[in-house]
Amino acid sequence: MDDIRYETPTSVNAAVKLLAGAQGVAKVLNGGTDLLVQMRADVVTPTLLVDIKKIADMKVIKKEKGGWRIGASVSGAEMGEHPELSKMWPGVVEATELIGSTQVQGRATMAGNLCNASPGADSVPAMIAAGALAAIAGPNGKREIPVEQIPVSPGKTSLAKGEFVTSIYLPKRPKKSGDAYLRFIPRTEMDIAVVGCGISLTLDKSKTVIAARVALGAVAPTALLLEDAAQTIIGTKLEDAALDALAAACSAACRPIDDKRGTKEFRIKIAGVLARRVALIARDRALKN
């Protein structure tokens, strides 16, 4: 194997300069839980690794405009240990904590999960449901976009050369809001989603849903934000008929593949089943906020 250059820039600008100026394949090394496996399998053969973990703020969770900004290198374990973040966005935190084992949780990050662009990434539907934004730094400066605009197909992102995600922003939310994420996997831990579903919703005083975002993972080349499905529950109190409509809308939106974890038919069915359950968990959480 040819030598791989390894750099640990201490500023975002220095990291951008390295990534933008690279001749061969440059990769951001963050938690490394996907990248190092891909390197070992020769799926990725970088000539430059830019380890971003020594950049200030990459490891920081901070309050911003009533929401939370989570540095790109914050691990799932660190998110789970943050009581205020876990209280405001329990669905996002539980989704991130489902990635891999306890060991993987010590390193794996939401930003990495997003940029690995796996259709089955657990944190992504939860982030989409949350209306999360990804802050991006690049040669043309900084920008912030909804997370659903980052993955474009399995393993591919919309990031341009020299760009990388520096943080994820989870917005402020009104009272009586809750979110949740569930996935189906063949065992209870350490597997990849056959279907994942994230829902975030807000209730009014009469317990009627006044805002909702619904997202599915592992049923299409990228995670899906389902506006139609959200509309089926907005204005309802999640009665059986509303949940039936939600399940039907989720199943109808699936464009899955058959693979060893599940058939198309199974995924389509399960998407609706999960959506019902997730909506009710999100509702119960909203009632407590």
Partner: protein, 159 residues
Amino acid sequence: MSRHHVTTTINGDNVEFLCDTEQSLLDCIRNELHMTGTKEGCGTGDCGACSIMLDGRLVCSCLALGVEAEGKEIMTIEGMAQGDELHPLQENFIKFAALQCGICTPGVLIAARALLEKNPDPTETEVRFWLAGNLCRCTGYDKIIRAVMATAAQLRATA
């Protein structure tokens, strides 16, 4: 390109080693430092045999690069017993026969200790979920879980 010179501490000792960028931390621990207590199972973060503590955090050493250890604190299985005195987890793994071939054992012990430091009174379910990333093909897990639960109770009684 010349190799990286990495300075770190392992089990409290200052340690230096040379490595190439692509060498995993596991590879460095085993093949540069010749500390072979940490095992390689899958090499892809699925089995937990290579579990270590990196700056106080349980990780798979196969999923970190050796160069990333610069300036960090590492704890491996070699630091678990104090001289001839085994850690209570190690004693209970013997007592409960929580191992057969032993390849997974160093990783399970490191992971179990990390759990008990964080949560001295775990439920059986919490132990099983915490150790879900440590695969054992011999024991069927039950003896491991019993040994960890017994150790937790013992440590609480003596705390």
